[in-house]
Amino acid sequence: MEPKSAVPLKKTGAGNAVRPQVAADSAAYVDSGKPAVISAERFSFFYGSKCGVNNVSMDIRTGSVTAIIGPSGCGKSTFLRSINRMNDLIPNTRTEGTLAVNGCDVYDKRTNLINLRQQVGMVFQKPNPFAKTIFENIVYGPRLQGVRSKRRLSEMVEKCLRDSAMWDEVKDDLHKSALALSGGQQQRLCIARTLATKPNVLLMDEPCSALDPIATARIEDLIAQLKGTYTIVIVTHNMQQAARVSDYTAFFCLGELIEYDRTDKLFTNPAKKATEDYITGRFG
């Protein structure tokens, strides 16, 4: 996760002052239509003294699919994992600026982590179902929310599996171990598991990087289906994928947000030279 060439920032006050023009400009491009569900305001993230995300300001629209692209170590995953505070697992980190989900500051001390993470679901790079049955995997979240009734849990399992388009594949094997599924199925199960907590934001951290093209296609179909109901933020290395699935695309480089725009615009007519170089494969 640690950016190799992250820019070490000067201390607090100075950091805020150096707000890159680009970010402000690109945010302006998409500042229209639906309200923002996630909004970052001069948000920076530090691993000890190293800077992972530097002074990012961006709004993510409700019901959209937003792709984050960029070279390795550019801070895109760090940014994504900041949204539901998964970075808390790493010791010695700190943040600057604000990052709000549904208008609440994520890094406020009073933030209820459990509520936040139930609102903001996350799908990881590697499929990580629990070593439990398919059924148990999906009801893990609802049980945390206090759903006890067996009938309601079964309904939820069916709904989530239908939503993630795998009900027909596994409806007879609900009580078999999730680890017996294929990689693609496991990843869709993880999505279903996340849907079961009824989030409004879905964070996907390179969800297809461990999958073959066919499984990838199914996940992409799934993302298309889920669009509108959920706000989806997807980190990907695959620019074709970003172009295929997303409404908006953000380009990160060296921890900074270089450009953020509508996907068709960014891929056909990037405003920045760096973006163009990256998407045409000249660097990165």
Binding site: I114, M122, F124, N128, A131, Y140, G141, K176, A178, L179
Partner: protein, 553 residues
């Protein structure tokens, strides 16, 4: 390096590693096979009729009628042997003879008093009787055959004396006649030698067939029965037939052990036929039969492991092991979880970790002394060696092992599991309980298996804290008592118990009994190994089920 050299080195290593593994397997076989062979002889052996009698007397096992018939048959076969022995010992053992003679003299005095014999006649009769008595006593004391025979003849000459007709004095003549017979056959100069030999022979006969007829019932059960097992019977037969002596070949020469047939020692005496008789009719005298004595695993001992089984020992070992696991596993797993999941990596945690690793290597006797000092002496609620103190000591002994294994297992759970659970909105504790511990289950079980074997086999920690070699079985009360007073179920925890490990140690150090009953000792060791094997196999089956479930097959 050249490819060829590399390949040959590779082959050499393979051969070396393979031979090391083979060596270990061989050592294991060399150690275990004789032990199991001896141990199994506690369960599979050839019993004698004495064993059946013992089982009937103590446990009411077997068919009473058949046993009675068998005992009658055996008694009939043994009678001639006892007769020979009795006749010979009568002729030889002077002390009872002297006593008998003196007794007869006294009886005669009483007889005369009873008849109100006039004083003069009384004195006369007594004088004559005293003469006879002294003659016989002289004969009994003398070692010279001529003197003996002369004295006896002198006494016997009085046989026709009408004064003594139908009086106790007649017994003098019976004794004299009997002794005359013996004196003619026995070399009287060797009398003390014969006596020593006779003592050995009688002891061997007692060992073989139990107390001699007409003897008082001995207080110890081990003396009440003859040889219960054929291997013990053969040992007794050997001491009956052969005498070991340390003899110098000449003056100044070192003593050499020589084995001499007793038959040659007693050549020409009345005792001589006894040896052949016992040897030839050995089976008829003992009625051997093969036996699978499975009750060995449930019976209590009789006469401190001389007979009987090891039921309480097995129970005690199981109890100690299970209890110590009950104490150690929750504490061990919780501390491991804390160390991995909660504790930040500071100097204190590092020190604690070093301490735990050091504790794992501390000799077990140190734990035993600690248990004595702390659980038995300091904690006044316990106050005396008992099961509770012993199992707590054992649990402290295995705690480091469990902590270390659990720590490794919890650390090995993929970080993605934690992330997945946390991302779904679970708290740290819930993640630990619902996701991490189940996933670490097989690894934790490995630690439990290791410590289980250790706890079951340890002797030193329980030595001072709660085991006894001999003693009552801990009393946990009856269901009726539990209803009346629920706390009474824990009463047994405050009593000492017996255990397999300490039991075999105790037999090994008590040299006399270990010579007599090697099968008991090896039986205990074998049972301990089997018990650990069973416990381990159970745990391994659970572990493989668990990991299979986790892998999803």
């Amino acid at each position: 390096m050249r490819t060829q050299i590399r390949q040959s080195l590779d082959k050499m290593f393979t051969a070396f590693a393979g031979s090391v593994v083979l060596l270990i397997a061989g050592v294991l076989l060399v150690v275990l096979v004789p032990m199991f062979r001896k141990g199994l002889s506690a369960v599979f052996f050839t019993e004698t009729v004495e064993f059946r009698k013992l089982q009937m007397d103590l446990h009411d096992r077997g068919d009473e009628r058949t046993l009675k018939q068998e005992l009658e048959r055996v008694a009939a076969a043994r009678k001639p042997i006892y007769d020979i022995l009795l006749a010979f010992s009568r002729g030889l053992d002077m002390e009872p003879r002297v006593k008998e003679v003196k007794n007869i003299y006294q009886q005669y005095g009483e007889y005369l008093n009873y008849r109100n014999t006039p004083k003069e006649q009384y004195t006369e009769c007594r004088k004559q009787a005293k003469e006879i008595r002294d003659t016989i006593l002289d004969a009994l004391e003398s070692m010279d055959k001529q003197v003996v025979l002369a004295n006896l003849d002198k006494a016997l000459a009085q046989k026709g004396n009408p004064t003594f007709k139908d009086t106790p004095v007649q017994h003098f003549f019976t004794v004299a006649e009997q002794y005359r017979k013996t004196a003619q056959t026995v070399d009287l100069t060797k009398r003390s030698e014969y006596l020593a030999g006779l003592r050995d022979v009688t002891a061997a006969i007692r060992q073989l067939f139990g107390p001699l007829p007409g003897e008082d019932e001995p207080p110890l059960p081990m003396d009440q029965y003859g040889a219960t097992r054929m291997d013990m019977a053969r040992k007794a037969l050997h001491t009956l037939l052969w005498d070991e002596q340390w003899i110098a070949d000449g003056p100044g020469k070192p003593l050499v052990k020589k084995i001499i047939a007793r038959k040659t020692q007693f050549t020409g005496t009345e005792l001589e036929p006894l040896f052949d008789r016992v040897e030839k009719n050995f089976n008829a005298l003992l009625l051997p039969r093969h036996r699978f004595y499975w009750q060995y695993f449930i019976d209590d001992w009789v006469n401190s492991h001389y007979f009987g089984g090891i039921g309480p020992e097995i129970l005690g070992t199981l109890l100690l092991t299970v209890l110590s696991m009950l104490f150690a596993v929750p504490f061990g797993v919780v501390s491991a979880a804390y160390l991995v999941e909660y504790a930040s990596d500071n100097i204190w945690i590092k020190i604690i970790r070093i301490c735990i690793n050091t504790l794992a290597g501390v000799p077990s006797i140190v734990y035993g002394l600690f248990g004595l000092a702390f659980f038995v002496i300091t904690i006044s609620a316990i106050g005396k060696p008992c099961i509770l103190a012993a199992s707590l000591t054992l649990s402290i002994l295995v705690l480091p092992v469990i902590i270390r294994a659990s720590e490794e297992a919890i650390r090995a759970v993929p970080q993605t599991y934690r992330e997945a659970s946390l991302a779904l909105g679970a708290g740290k504790f819930r993640t630990l309980v619902k996701v991490i511990l189940p996933a670490a289950g097989p690894g934790i079980l490995t630690g439990i298996i290791l410590s289980l074997s250790r706890a079951a086999g340890e002797t030193a920690p329980i030595l001072f804290t709660g085991v006894v070699a001999m003693g009552p079985i801990p009393n946990f009360g009856t269901p009726a008592e539990w209803v009346r007073n629920p706390a009474s179920i824990f009463g047994g925890l405050f009593q000492p118990t017996r255990a397999l490990s300490y039991g075999s140690y105790d037999i090994a150090v008590g040299d006399r009994i270990s010579m007599l009953v090697p099968h008991q000792q090896f039986g205990m060791v074998m049972t301990l190994i089997l018990l650990i094997l069973v416990l381990n196999v159970t745990a391994i089956v659970i572990r493989s089920r668990l990991s299979k479930k986790l892998r999803g097959h």
